[in-house]
Amino acid sequence: MKDVTFGQYYPSHSFVHKMNPAIKILLTIAYIVGVFLVSGDNYYAGFLACVVFVLIATITARVPIFRVLKSIKAIIFFVLLSAILQIFFNKDGTPLWENGFITDKALIASGFIALRIILVVMGASLLTLTTSPVEIADGTEVLLAPLKLVKFPVHEFALIMSIALRFIPTLLEETDRIIKAQQARGAEFEGGIFKKAKAMIPVLIPLLIGSFRRADELADAMDSRCYSGSKNRTKYKKMGLTYRDAISFIITGGLVAGVVLLNGVVIL
C-alpha cells in the first residue's frame, strides 16, 4: 500500500522548490501547452527544446532524475498503446519494406507521440515533486482568484483540496491497518476479481466510517478555533514573487515562443 505515492513531494531547498507555487503551476501549464504545440517541419527542434527545458528544470530542482522517470512507469502502458496504434493505423509515407504495413512516417509519428506524453508527464511530476500538496492548493487558490468575481467559493475549494491531499497518506495507512486486521480474522484478498471485490467490503466499510469520523473531528476542531474562510483572512506564510519567478517566467516564455516560432504558425 505504501508504494502508492501520491503527492510524491521530494523535499529540498532548490531554486525550483522556492518558486511561488502559483507561478510554478502556471509555467507548468505553459510548458505542457508548449509540448502540445510542437508540430510543423521543425518539430524535432521543438522537441529538443522541450527535452532540454525539462532536463534543466530537473537539475535546478535538484531532484534525482530517476524520481522523475519513475512517474513514467505508471503510464508506460498508455504510452505504448498510443505508439502502437499510431504504427498500425497511420498510412502516411512509404512502407518500410515492400508491401509492408508499417510506414516510415508512422514510425516517426509514434515515436513523437510517446515522447510527447513522456514530456508532459515529466513536467507534471516535476511540479508535484517540487511543490508540496499544500503549496499546490495555495497556488491553485491564487490562480482561481478571478473566479471570485462570479461568486465561485475559491477559498473553500482550495481548502477542500488541501484537506483531501492531507488525508491521502492517512487513509492509505488506515487501509493498510484495516486490511491487516481483517487478514488476521482470516480474510483473503487473493483470487478472482469477483472474490476480490467481495473481500474488499470488510475493508471499505470501516474505511468509509473512519473517514466520516475524521471529517467530523476535523470540522469540530476547526469550529472550535472559530475558523471561517472570511474575506479578511491573512496568511501565515506569505508567498511573494521573487527573482526566481521572474527568471523562470522569462525562460518558459522563451520556450513557448520558440516552439511557436519554429512551427511557423506565426508568419511575420
Partner: protein
C-alpha cells in the same frame, strides 16, 4: 503452542532507503505465558509481533519464526490455519467492525477459518465468545456495531478475534484510549481469557504498570534490538538502563527506588500485592 523466533531481522523500504525495524532478535515464548513486549515508540514492537501470524512475511535470509507446528519461513506454510491459531488484536480494534449486526461481525472470522461448521455450532461459539468478553448476547446480537459505545465496540471486536479459539492471542496496544476504569476492566477480561479461552497472551503496551502487574515475562526492544528479556522484576531493576531504553518505571518499581533512598529495602515481584507484602515484611510486621 510455543513461539520461537530465531535471529529475526526485518527492514522496511526499498534497497536504496532501508529502515531496519527489527534486528537479529532471538526470543522464545512458552505456551501459557502472559508475555509483555515493551519499547520506546518506533522500536519495532509492531513489526516483530506481526510476524507471528504471517501478516509480515519473514524476509529472505532474515532468520526464522516458528509457531507451534507452523514454520513461517516455509513457502508452503498454511497461513490461514496459522491465523486461526494466532489471533491478533490491533490498536483501536473497534475500527475493524463492518457488518450490519454484532452477530454477523463476530461470525466473520469464524466463517473464514471454519466454513464447514453448521449454523448451530457457529451460533454456540459466537454466543460463548460474546459472553466471554462480558456482553449480554441476547441483547446485543442483533444490534448494529456502530450504535454501541466505544468500550462495547472494542469488546465486540475482541469477540470477533477469539471466536475462532486461537491458542495464542497477540494484542498491540489494546488499552490505548481507554479510561482507567476501562483499562482495569480490560485487564480483567484478559485474565478471564487467559484462564479459559486462549493459552498464551502476548501484549504490547506503553503502560508499564499494566506490564508489571500482569506479565510473567517481558521483552524490551530498543531501536530494533532485543535488549532484555526477563520477569518484570529483572527488567525494571536497573533504573538507569530503563531510562536509556526510553521507558518509564512502573509505580511499584519507582516506589521501591524511592524507599531504597530512604534506607528501606523492599523485595517484591513489582505487582501491587507483592509490593505491599514486601513492604510489610521490610517493616518487620505480620501480615
Amino acid at each position: 503452542m510455543q513461539v520461537k523466533i530465531e535471529n529475526l531481522s526485518y527492514s522496511y523500504g526499498s534497497k536504496k532507503l532501508k529502515v531496519k525495524a527489527v534486528n537479529d532478535i532471538c526470543l522464545e515464548i512458552k505456551e501459557g505465558e502472559f508475555f509483555g513486549v515493551v519499547g520506546h515508540t518506533g522500536s519495532g514492537k509492531s513489526t516483530l509481533i506481526q510476524h507471528l501470524n504471517g501478516l509480515i512475511k519473514v524476509q529472505k535470509d532474515s532468520g526464522k519464526v516458528i509457531v507451534g507446528e507452523y514454520d513461517l519461513t516455509d513457502k508452503k506454510c498454511d497461513f490461514k490455519g496459522l491465523r486461526a491459531k494466532v489471533g491478533m488484536v490491533f490498536q483501536y480494534p473497534e475500527y475493524q467492525l463492518f457488518a450490519e449486526t454484532v452477530f454477523e461481525d463476530v461470525k466473520f472470522g469464524l466463517k473464514n477459518f471454519y466454513p464447514n461448521l453448521t449454523e448451530k455450532e457457529m451460533e454456540e461459539r459466537i454466543k460463548k465468545a460474546v459472553e466471554t468478553v462480558g456482553l449480554d448476547y441476547e441483547k446485543i446480537k442483533e444490534k448494529s456495531p456502530f450504535e454501541l459505545s466505544g468500550g462495547q465496540k472494542r469488546r465486540v471486536a475482541i469477540a470477533g478475534v477469539i471466536v475462532s479459539r486461537p491458542e495464542v492471542l497477540v494484542l498491540d496496544e489494546p488499552v490505548a484510549g481507554l479510561d482507567p476504569t476501562g483499562k482495569r476492566e480490560f485487564v480483567s477480561l484478559l485474565h478471564a481469557l487467559h484462564n479459559d479461552f486462549v493459552k498464551t497472551i502476548i501484549i504490547v503496551s506503553h503502560d508499564m504498570n499494566l506490564i508489571a502487574e500482569n506479565c510473567d515475562r517481558v521483552a524490551v526492544l530498543n531501536k530494533g534490538n532485543l535488549v532484555k528479556v526477563g520477569t518484570p522484576k529483572e527488567v525494571f531493576m536497573d533504573k538507569v538502563k530503563v531510562e536509556e531504553w526510553g521507558l518509564e518505571l512502573p509505580s511499584t518499581a519507582y516506589l521501591t527506588e524511592k524507599l531504597r533512598e530512604k534506607g528501606i529495602e523492599i523485595d517484591s515481584d513489582l505487582t501491587i500485592k507483592g509490593f505491599i507484602d514486601g513492604y510489610i515484611r521490610a517493616k518487620g510486621g505480620e501480615k
